[in-house]
Amino acid sequence: MNRKLIPRKYSRRDFLKWGVRGTLGIALAGSALSTLRPQQAVAGTGRPFLTPNPGPVARPDGQTAVRHLRFGATDGFLSLPGRRVNSPAGGVYMFGFVLGEVTDSIGDFIQKYKGRVRTPAPIVDVTENQDVYITLTNLGFEQRPDLDDSHTIHWHGFRNPNSVFDGVPEVSISVPVARDFPYFFRPRDEGTYMYHCHFEDTEHVQMGMDGIVFVRPQPGAGITPYHAYADFSTAFDREYTLLLNEVDTIPHDNLLAVQGFVWSDYKPNYWVINGRSYPDTLYTDLDLANEVDAVAAELKNRQPVSSLIQANPGEKILLRMASLGYEQHAMQMMGIRMRVVGQDATFLGPLAYDTHTIYIGPGEARDAIFVAPPYNPNLPGGTDAAGDYNVYWFKNRNYQRLVNDREPGLGGMITQVRVYAPNPDNSPSLPTQEWPNQTFPRPTV
C-alpha cells in the first residue's frame, strides 16, 4: 500500500529556500515590465466575460442537457487605483482562469491566452439538471515560467460530488502544465455558488483563481430563468453577480519577484467587487468598449465584469453575492431595502428576511432581491449614456475597507445602484438584460 516515494520534483517552495531568487528575480521582474504583449480583445460584441447559458436542451433520451466549457489557468495583471498596469507602480500580479474555445488545441489555447488572465474568473451560468463539462487546461505562467504549479476547479458548495471532481489535489487530482482535464458536474440544486482552484489554495485563491457559478432552477410550472429558486417569491427582472475579494498586494508582488510569503501575515490593502475597486466599480460596458479613458482601456481586457448595478424603476433586481476573501464583510445598501431569499445555494423560504446590511463571511453566498424605487428628479443622481438616474450606494460598512491602499479619498468595496428615469413615452429606458451584469447602453459592435 505504501510505495516508495520517487525523488520529488523540486517544488517552488524548495526553489525559494535554495536562495536562487536573486538573479532570476531580477530577470523576471524586468520581463514583466517590458514584454507585455498586446491584449487579445474580449469578444467584440461587448459580451462580458461569462459563459452563455442557452438554457436546458432536451436530450433524445429525455434526460439532461449538456454544456461544455473550456477554462484555461494562467497569470496576468490586475489594474487598481494606485496600481495601474501602465504606471511606474505597475499592475498587481494575478493568477486566474480564462474562457477559451472547446475546439482549441492546447497549443492554440496557450498561444492565445497564456499571461492574459481576467479577474474575476468567468461567471458560469448553468441550469439545474444540465450536465456541465469544464475542460481545464493549465496554460502555465508567462511571468513565472519556473513554476510548475498544477490547478484544479473546486465547485464550492456542490452537493454530493464525486471526490475526483471536487478539485482538491490532496484527495483527488490536479492538472499539470500544458494538460487538459475534464471536470464534470450535474447540478441538482439551484442557487448561487462559487468556484476556485484548490491547489495551494491560500495562495491561488488570493491570487485570483476564483469566480461565481450559479444554477438556474429547472424551468416549468411557471418557473423561468428569471427565478433565483423554484419559488415565485424569487422572481427578478435583472441580475448581478457580485464577487467580493480582498487583495494583499505584498504576496502578489513577492510572487512576481520570485520571493516567498508567510500566509499567516496576510493583511489586505485593497477591497474589490468583481475585481474592481472604486471608482473603477462605476465603469459601464460601454465605457470599456469605447476605452473612454486610460483606466477603461486597462479594465477592458483584465477586469471586464461590471460592478455597476442598473435598474428601471419598479424592477426586481437580484444580487448574487459571494465572498472569496478571507475577511468577513457587511455589505450595506443605502436607501433601498433588500430581501435575502437565498443563502449558500439554499432557498430560505420562511427564513427570508428584509435588511439593509448583509453579513457575508468567506466562502458564503447570499441571494438578495430589491425593488428599484420610482425615479424622482429631486433625489440625488446624475446622467450617463443611459439617461438620467437616481443614485443609491452599495458599500462595505467597514469603512476601513473603503480605501485604495494609501491613495487619498474614497475607494474599495463600494459601487452604485442607478435607477433610470423612464423615456418620455414612459417606457423603461433600460432594455431587457441579455446576460448577468450587462450594462446599458449596449456597446455597438
Partner: protein
C-alpha cells in the same frame, strides 16, 4: 523557534492507523448507541463522564502545563485542564464533560499555575461557585495550590464551552478551555429532544488559534501584551492538520488526545452530528466539502427552523450543532451507469498523463467510482512512486476554515484549521 516538517511518511502511518485499524477492529470504531467510555473510540467524540451517582455528577479537574505540538515540529507552551480522576495530565482541549439533562453537575478545580484560575460555563444558569478568592467573573482558585468548586443544574441539552473566567485574554489563549455536552432525555444518540436530531455518530470540532510568541513570553515569564497577538497556528480539538486526522490518543501527541477526522457511510439512514464550538477570539467561517450541513442548533438552543448551508461562521464563543450526511446521488457505476466521460475532445478518462498527485501523495483511490480502486488497484492506477492512502475506494473531502489564511501551519499550507471527512461505500470497506 524549532521548526521541522512532519513528513508525509508520518502522515502515511497515521492514515494507515485511521484506515486500517478502524476497519479491522470494527468493534472499536466509535458509534455504539451507548457511548460506553470503557471502549474508547479511535475517532469521534470522547466523553469524560465523571463520577455519577443518580443525577449527581462530579468532575475533578486540575490545571497543568504542556505543549502544543505542531505538524511543522514547533512546540508551543500551553496551559490546560487535566482530568484529576485519571492522573491529571496536561491535555488540550480539556476533558469533554458529558452529562445528562437535569443532572446536578459539580466541577472541582485544583490549580497549579502561577496565576489564579477559575471556570465559567457560558450558557449555564445559576452556577454556584466557591473558591479561595472572588474574581471578576466568579470565584477563583488561588495561584499555585488553590482550589475552587462550581455546581449547576444542566438545565437543557446542547453543546457548550467551558473556559477560564480569569484573565480570559491570557488564559483561554493559553489553552484553558473545553467542551461540555448535555445529552437530552430522549437518548444519548439524539442531540436534542427532537426525533429529527438522531445521529449515527458524533464528532467534536472545537476551534482555537495560537500565537506562539505570546506563549513563549508566558513560558519565559515576560510581559504578556495581547494587543501584539499574531496567530500562526489554527487548531481543531487542539491539533492542526495533518495531525488532527490521526486517531484519538495517538502516543506521539500526548497532550492533544482528540482527533478530528469525521467518518460517514454513504447513504446511511442516519446523519452524523458535528458539535462545533469556537474557543478562539476570531470568528471562523467553516466550510464542509461533500454536502451541505443542516444547522439544528446554535449556542445550545435548538433552532425553530432548521436550515442548510455550505459555510457556517462559528463566532467567537459560539457553539453550533450541525448534521451531515453524504448520498451517492448519481450512483455512478462502472458498468451499469458509467460517468459520461471521456468527453470530446479529451482522451480516455482518466488519462493519467493529464493529472498529477500533489507531492506524489494522495488520498484518492485512483478510480472515480465510490468503492472501486483501493489497495489492490494501485499498481495500475498511479504513476510509480505515488504514495496512496486509500483503503477500498472511499472518498475523502476536506472541511476547513474558508478564511484560507487559517489553513496554515505558520507558512505551510494544507494545515491549520482543516480536517477530512471520510465517506465509506455502503456497508463500509470489505
Amino acid at each position: 523557534m524549532l521548526r521541522k516538517r512532519l513528513k508525509w511518511s508520518v502522515l502515511g502511518l497515521l492514515a494507515l492507523v485511521v484506515g486500517l485499524l478502524s476497519a479491522t477492529r470494527p468493534g472499536s470504531v466509535f458509534g455504539g448507541p451507548t457511548f460506553a467510555p470503557a471502549a474508547l473510540p479511535n475517532i469521534g467524540l470522547v466523553c469524560t463522564t465523571g463520577s455519577v451517582s443518580g443525577t449527581q455528577v462530579v468532575f475533578n479537574l486540575t490545571t497543568a502545563t504542556g505543549f502544543y505540538s505542531g505538524p511543522d515540529g514547533n512546540q508551543v507552551f500551553m496551559w490546560g485542564f487535566g482530568d484529576a480522576d485519571s492522573g491529571g495530565a496536561f491535555q488540550m482541549p480539556g476533558p469533554v464533560l458529558c452529562v445528562h439533562e437535569g443532572d446536578t453537575v459539580t466541577i472541582n478545580l485544583t490549580n497549579t499555575l502561577p496565576d489564579p484560575v477559575s471556570l465559567v460555563f457560558p450558557g449555564q444558569e445559576n452556577v454556584a461557585a466557591a473558591g479561595d478568592q472572588q474574581g471578576l467573573f466568579t470565584w477563583e482558585a488561588a495561584a499555585n495550590t488553590g482550589s475552587a468548586s462550581y455546581t449547576f443544574t444542566a438545565g437543557h441539552p446542547g453543546t457548550f464551552l467551558y473556559e477560564s473566567g480569569t484573565q480570559p485574554y491570557k488564559q483561554i489563549q493559553m489553552g484553558l478551555y473545553g467542551m461540555l455536552v448535555v445529552r437530552p432525555a430522549m437518548g444519548d444518540n439524539f442531540a436534542y429532544n427532537d426525533p429529527d436530531t438522531q445521529f449515527r455518530n458524533e464528532f467534536m470540532l472545537l476551534l482555537h488559534e495560537i500565537d506562539p510568541e505570546l506563549h513563549a513570553r508566558v513560558e519565559r515569564g515576560e510581559p504578556y501584551i495581547v494587543s501584539e497577538r499574531h496567530d500562526r497556528y489554527w487548531t481543531i480539538n487542539g491539533r492542526s492538520m495533518p495531525d488532527l486526522i490521526a486517531d484519538n490518543f495517538v502516543d506521539w501527541l500526548k497532550g492533544q488526545p482528540y482527533g478530528a477526522l469525521v467518518r460517514v457511510e454513504a447513504g446511511d439512514s442516519l446523519p452524523v452530528l458535528l458539535r462545533f464550538a469556537n474557543a478562539g477570539w476570531e470568528n471562523h467561517p467553516f466550510h464542509p466539502h461533500g454536502n451541505h450541513m443542516t444547522v439544528i442548533a446554535r449556542d445550545g438552543q435548538p433552532l425553530p427552523q432548521k436550515f442548510q448551508n455550505f459555510t457556517t461562521t462559528i463566532g467567537s464563543g459560539q457553539a453550533y450543532d450541525l448534521l451531515f450526511r453524504w448520498d451517492n446521488v448519481e450512483a455512478w457505476d462502472v458498468s451499469a451507469n458509467p460517468l459520461p466521460v471521456p468527453m470530446p475532445p479529451a482522451g480516455p478518462f482518466p488519462d493519467r498523463q493529464n493529472v498529477v498527485y500533489k507531492d506524489g501523495v494522495t488520498f484518492y483511490s485512483g478510480n472515480p467510482y465510490l468503492g472501486e480502486g483501493g489497495a489492490t488497484a494501485y499498481q495500475d492506477s498511479f504513476p510509480p512512486g505515488t504514495t496512496v492512502f486509500n483503503e477500498c475506494g472511499e472518498f475523502y473531502f476536506p472541511w476547513h476554515s474558508h478564511a484560507l489564511d487559517e489553513v496554515q501551519n505558520f507558512d505551510e499550507g494544507f494545515g491549520g484549521m482543516l480536517t477530512l471527512v471520510r465517506v465509506d461505500p455502503p456497508g463500509g470497506c470489505p
